[in-house]
Subunit: 198 residues, 2 copies
DNA sequence: CCTACCGATCGGTAGG
DNA sequence: CCTACCGATCGGTAGG
């Protein structure tokens, strides 16, 4: 029993190692550009050993995306209700991202790769964007009901544009970090839309 | 002489065919995901024949990017002076892009792939973003000098955010065209920043 | 421009 | 988890 339990634990740790190695390589080379052999090498096993844990390349991608969501919810409480606090949390997320270039890399590269309907992560990103937009739109709508929105601001457009702005800024920031004030631009964009202090 | 002239013409046409085929495949599969064999097949030659025209995979990428720039300048007059007309032209460019999904695909995919400093198109996109930002910033600055900017708007931030917004909107639009009003969002963003009619 | 080929690498399987 | 292997595909070269 102890043996089995220990075995399970070791397996779980090994799985985490593989997922971390995959996420790092996806960020550097994209999903299609990442080989199972290179991921396995970074995790300290052979590529056939990796397949023992994840039966296909796509299964590993799914695990990486699930892991990313779990982390985001856990550390950044992305499940907080729509409203001003949600927008503040998104600014905090951008600040956090400044110190996690690999994470931003992974996200930007996979999102671009997955615009095609045949990419294994397409449905994930379609759902991801829909949820991000809906939550942002709902947040601006809440502010609107309280009269805390600048006059003439449409929550639907503001929500869509807010998500788009963050994505676009990340691409430019990754390309040349010195020339792009990620957090500053997001903060100013939001403050311009609302009549209360961010 | 006529033979040679005819030969040169045929060569130029063949080169254009290869470039068009490459651009189309880059949009579908990314640069690293596109094989010289598949590009050659679409252009109606063998992959060794393609290499007769473009000695390496990177040389073909360079030709595709040069071609894209030449097209943009020619058809959309991107070399117009900074100011309100430039912003109007960018809105027209977004409208044009709605009918050229492949072009947007190519741009978005390559830009994300090229965030890494070791990608052969990295310098191209670094330069591209710098120029795009500079021109947008200059345009807002011109409006500011004329008193046609909403009070409190910083041209530097507005320029950066404008370029980022367009990029981010394109990713969401490619992922799910039905849910994203590309042109509408850009228009509203700009109109909110300026005090004259767009 | 082609045929024919090179060494390297890919995802996945067999069998233990 | 490994060794050993499969068929397929990659960018590039030789030689014409």
């Amino acid at each position: 029993m102890q043996q089995a339990s220990s075995g399970y634990l070791k397996g779980r740790i090994r799985r985490e190692d593989i997922i971390a190695a995959a996420a790092a390589l996806y960020a550097e080379a994209g999903y299609h550009g990442s080989s199972l052999r290179e991921i396995a090498k970074r995790a300290g096993i052979t590529h056939a050993g990796l397949i023992y844990y994840f039966p296909t390349k796509e299964a590993l991608l799914a695990a990486v995306l699930e892991r990313r969501d779990a982390d985001a919810v856990e550390r950044l409480q992305l499940d907080i209700p729509a409203g001003l606090d949600y927008l503040r949390h998104m600014v905090a997320l951008m600040e956090y991202n400044l110190r996690r270039r690999g994470l931003v890399d992974l996200y930007v590269r996979l999102a671009a790769e997955a615009v095609g309907a045949d990419h294994p992560a397409h449905e994930y990103f379609d759902r991801h964007y829909r949820m991000a937009r809906d939550h942002a739109v709902a947040s601006f709508a809440v502010l609107g009901e309280r009269g805390e929105l600048r006059s003439g601001v449409d929550p639907a457009v503001a929500g869509l544009s807010f998500i788009a702005l963050m994505d676009g800024l990340q691409v430019q920031w990754l390309t040349n970090p010195d020339r792009v004030d990620l957090v500053g631009a997001v903060r100013i964009f939001l403050q311009d839309l609302i009549s209360v202090e961010l």
